[in-house]
């Protein structure tokens, strides 16, 4: 057991899988010699060499096209899209090609690609480098979507994503890169589609993802001081979605709150809320509540950004009000 940063866990997870599968390769802008602009791929080129860890031009369509073509023909690939906002410049390959090819070809084509990408706000990078776009991917049939909140999950879910024969979009949260926690020394392999109850509670269920998980947990601590027992679920995997864990929790608590970094409209919280409001309707003791970033482009100034993304305070207050 060693303490690793979330950032280090990324390279650790990739290295674990590249050791296991000699076919596995990685490509992206500045990922090789420089170890990535977020330093999440440091050391990989040294261990695996420049043929397996490759720098590319600024050509996101070419990057993901190469990943897809290689994957279709027997080479599993990890591709980095530096910031998740840039999925927009290669969205056709993600949403129209990778996601649909197996189905469209009657199962002839497999696309074992992991698209890793830095997601989320908090770094004062402004509206084009701070988006949370898990929902962009969740809405596309044929994509799996993962967003770890801890270093151990980074490694374990990376392994699960790489071993998955379908395209997985793997969201690394920029504001979690510096966080630290223990990661087992031996290989860590997790499973997609399993949420984790990070804190048990009886009064309400809070579903959160990535950076919102530690914030929800801290809010739950404060709520506990006030006598409100919140259960916090780290959703981890949006597709496949662990509806069982979510619904079981709501059955117990009777209230459901989502905490999303997405701007309000059509965030993943809406999907979860609609499932709960349909399938657990008779368990609900009060409205489902969504806590989100307002429906605005993310502002750059520190003061404004801090007002946008859900804070511990906002989660705390909103839940308290909802349960009052």
């Amino acid at each position: 057991m060693a303490e690793l940063t979330y950032r280090e866990a990324v390279a650790r997870g990739i290295a674990q899988e590249m050791r296991r599968d000699p076919r596995l390769v990685m490509l992206g802008e500045d990922v090789a010699a420089a170890g990535g602009v977020f330093k999440t791929t440091v050391g990989l080129i040294d261990e695996f060499g420049p043929d397996r860890v490759r720098d590319t031009p600024i050509s996101e369509q070419a990057i993901l096209g190469a990943a897809m073509g290689a994957a279709m023909t027997g080479i599993p690939v990890i591709a980095e899209i530096m910031f998740s906002d840039f999925l927009a410049v290669c969205w056709d390959i993600v949403a129209n090609e990778m996601a649909k090819s197996r189905y469209m070809t009657g199962g002839q084509v497999s696309v074992p690609v992991v698209i890793r990408t830095a997601n989320g706000g908090g770094a004062r990078f402004g509206a084009q480098h701070s988006q949370s776009v898990e929902n962009w991917c969740m809405m596309i049939p044929g994509l799996k979507v993962v967003a770890p909140s801890t270093p151990a999950d980074v490694v374990g879910l990376m392994a699960a994503s790489v071993r998955d024969p379908d395209p997985v979009v793997f969201f690394e949260h920029k504001s979690l890169l510096g966080t630290k926690a223990d990661v087992p020394d031996e290989d860590v392999v997790d499973r997609l589609g399993e949420a984790v109850v990070r804190r048990e509670g009886t009064d309400c269920t809070i579903a959160a993802l990535a950076l919102m998980v530690p914030r929800a947990l801290e809010a739950a601590d404060r709520l506990a001081e006030e006598g409100i027992s919140a259960e916090v679920i780290d959703v981890r995997s949006l597709v496949p979605l662990d509806t069982r864990t979510l619904l079981a929790s709501v059955e117990k608590t009777g209230r459901f709150i989502t905490v999303e970094e997405n701007p309000r409209l059509c965030g993943w919280g809406a999907e979860l809320a609609s499932i709960v409001a349909d399938e657990a309707f008779w368990n609900l003791d009060g409205p489902v509540v969504r806590i989100t970033t307002p429906h605005i482009p993310l502002p750059a100034a520190e003061s404004l950004e801090d007002m946008s993304i859900p804070t511990v305070d906002r989660i705390h207050q909103t839940v308290r009000t909802a349960l009052a």
Partner: protein, 353 residues
């Protein structure tokens, strides 16, 4: 009668075919290969004519994009490729699929939306794929597949298999961003990939020169990637085969990518609904004169193949197309059982537990 509007493309000067390059007659192509190419062209022609008829009978649904008049390109490349090489095509991919050896019956059945279709009816005309024949897919959104072909070439490079990937695309496709990214990437990584522009002079209903900064929209861009700009007669299977063979061998030897622009013409409209009226009449006529199939028929006669031999090939192809039609019509419509399969590798489509 009103004066023709400047924007009525059918009133523009016709772009006639270049004079035939007779040098090709002397090329070092085995006669056997030439006869095979004759047969393949006939198959493509008859197959697509039949597909058109079936569309008129309302048996083919959705859309379809025929290669009538453009058969020499798929044929020439089909003949030059090794069975384990990769083909990537567009929505106009019937010819390329058949030219890799995919069986006509399941291909026709796919157009008819049947469960015995090559994609079980899930993909339709625009997504024909037959991985076992190296036909890695037909891609219906312009540009992406040039990048994807790079990936197959990269994979071959890594696996050390000497396989080559060929990507076909239209003249209109040279103006989309993915074209540029794919070409640069392929050259920088020295990938075994051949980019083949089927320049049929039109995107959908707009002449390519109206929307392109250079006269040869593919070849004139070659130097931007350090590539030679190769223009060939896309209506001559021998010219195509010769260029294909050279580019494929170069790629196989580690010589990197090539870019070939094959100039051709479609006999019909862009897709099933289009009568193609935006084209000058004289242009259509001149290109119909330059139909690759009668031209090749004459060439084979000149090379000593007997009229009777060619006629019996025609007959056998007709039989093949007939059988494919029957096979297709005999298929059931896919039912609920297959609707939710094959989104994921586990065979299903569950997004939740």
């Amino acid at each position: 009668m009103e004066a023709p509007q400047a924007y009525d493309y059918s009133q523009r000067p016709a772009r006639l075919p270049d004079p035939v390059d007779d040098a090709n007659r002397d090329l070092d192509i085995p006669l056997e290969t030439r006869v095979e190419m004759y047969e393949m062209q006939l198959l493509l022609r008859q197959f697509e004519k039949r597909a058109y008829d079936l569309f008129m009978q309302n048996l083919v649904k959705g859309t379809s994009h025929l290669s009538l008049g453009m058969e020499a390109i798929a044929t020439g490349f089909g003949a030059a490729l090794r069975p384990d090489d990769y083909t990537f095509a567009t929505y106009r991919g019937h010819a390329h699929t058949l030219a890799r050896g995919a069986p006509p019956g399941p291909v026709m059945a796919e157009l008819l939306g049947r469960e015995n279709g090559i994609l079980q009816g899930k993909g339709g005309s625009m997504h024909l794929t037959s991985v076992e024949h190296g036909m890695m897919g037909s891609y219906a959104i312009i540009g992406a597949h040039l990048c994807i072909a790079n990936g197959a070439a990269w994979s071959a490079q890594m696996r050390g298999t000497d396989q080559v990937a060929v990507s076909f695309f239209g003249d209109g496709t040279t103006n989309i961003g993915a074209f540029h990214e794919a070409l640069n990437f392929a050259v920088v990584w020295n990938l075994p990939v051949v980019f083949v522009c089927e320049n049929n002079l039109y995107m959908e209903y707009t002449p390519i020169d109206v929307v392109s900064a250079v006269p040869n929209p593919a070849a004139d861009r070659g130097p931007a990637y350090g590539l030679e700009g190769i223009v060939i007669d896309g209506n001559d299977p021998d010219a195509v085969f010769t260029a294909a063979r050279a580019a494929i061998e170069r790629a196989r030897r580690g010589g990197g990518p090539s870019l070939i622009e094959a100039v051709t013409y479609r006999h019909g409209g862009h897709s099933r609904a289009d009568p193609g009226k935006y084209r000058p009449e004289a242009e259509v006529e001149a290109w119909l004169e330059r139909d690759p199939i009668p031209m090749y028929h004459q060439r084979l006669l000149g090379l000593g193949v007997g009229e009777g031999d060619l006629a019996s090939i025609q007959q056998s192809v007709a039989g093949e197309v007939e059988a494919a039609t029957e096979f297709a019509k005999s298929g059931d419509f896919p039912d609920e059982a297959s609707l939710l399969t094959d989104v994921w590798a586990d065979g299903g489509s569950a997004w939740r537990n």
